[in-house]
Symmetry: C2
Subunit: 218 residues, 2 copies
Amino acid sequence: MSDTTTPSLPEEIAARLRDRITGGILRPGQHLSEAVLAADMQVSRNTLREVFRLLTREGLLTHLPNRGVSVAVPSMGAILDIYRVRRLIELPALANARPRHPAIARMSEAVDDARAAREAGDWQGVGSANMQFHAGIVALTDSPRLTAFFAQLTAELRLAFGLIDDAQELHAPFIETNQDLLHRLVAGDTQGAAEHLASYLDRSERLVLEAFARIEMR
Amino acid sequence: MSDTTTPSLPEEIAARLRDRITGGILRPGQHLSEAVLAADMQVSRNTLREVFRLLTREGLLTHLPNRGVSVAVPSMGAILDIYRVRRLIELPALANARPRHPAIARMSEAVDDARAAREAGDWQGVGSANMQFHAGIVALTDSPRLTAFFAQLTAELRLAFGLIDDAQELHAPFIETNQDLLHRLVAGDTQGAAEHLASYLDRSERLVLEAFARIEMR
DNA sequence: TCACATTTATTGTTCAACAATCCGCGCCGA
DNA sequence: TCGGCGCGGATTGTTGAACAATAAATGTGA
């Protein structure tokens, strides 16, 4: 945000690895060998270790002493916790929003992106756009700390999404919901928008938990 | 939390450095040389760099590419943001608390510790205990993510406290307030406790901002 | 089959080296 | 005198290799 310079190499590698994880290329539980991943990423082991620390603190990786790191496996407890925190943050953010806040443009963009991704059959993209939409909601608070914290939650949540096969059912139904929510917001009906969001979060959480339960039992 | 084994060396160094920063031994704005600090901490430069990444992400250090790290200097904007987030988290935490939650014991301990520290004239200790008290409030939510996030806010806030000379005036008046708040909580008056907390946060924020303004103008 | 020693692979940490970048200093010309 | 210019020197960024420490895998004997 305050740094316009190119992000340092470890940050860059962290971003790439983050994409691989949330993109589902690296499955939860999978062990990551320092040597092979360093060779794969074309960086030294030392640099990669810095990256590991970063992502571990973000909750994307799990570190066991002397046994290396592996992709974190989301638990039901984690999902419940994340949705609880989302409610705590997003609902007041929306309820107290100024109706002409710049972040609204980002939310509007996100809705468009989601539509485009749906047309293209890119369900992964729909998920990304949806998360962008909610990041916009948090941006309404103008709080850098909340924004950063939420980004972390988002990353962790996408880990869980990756486990669910039919991502289609997960995000697609909410595009129209988001559109509607956005309309209410620009119309100044923050209260109605917040109520809408509350029911969205309930439905989304249930969907994730159900899909998760189906998976955990095999 | 989940790790009962001894924390790895970088974590340990990070903790030590964190203490030095929040303890005021390292002043905000002070530049930290990798070479001398590595020698001082008796660790290699590589290990220290991992630590730097950690604390940078926590907001305690500022990293400028090719110019190394220095202790972060808190800004008024940061303080405002932190208190806003604190309200967002702490008020609902208290309002929705179960009156016999285990975290209440921690809060009670914190009050006692604060008293003991005040007797001993250890104002630094009063500050620590006060923060422990508020960490207890957050613990009422049973949310590991909120707890971790709050710990981060706390560390950053103590950075600002360190700049203020008379830490005495900063925390001491709130010992009785906390005690009172605790009584209301165990009595089941969560609403009253929350209102109490709200006024506490207002006063505390004002005190910090005023002291901060006095300092910034020289 | 089980318990135990041994080997092997991986991680944890250090060290030394070199490239890249920034900072201060002296030089030079106007 | 003053302001640009280039040049070292110091610090950071990154790498590679080395070795110790630990855990997993393997083999051995009863």
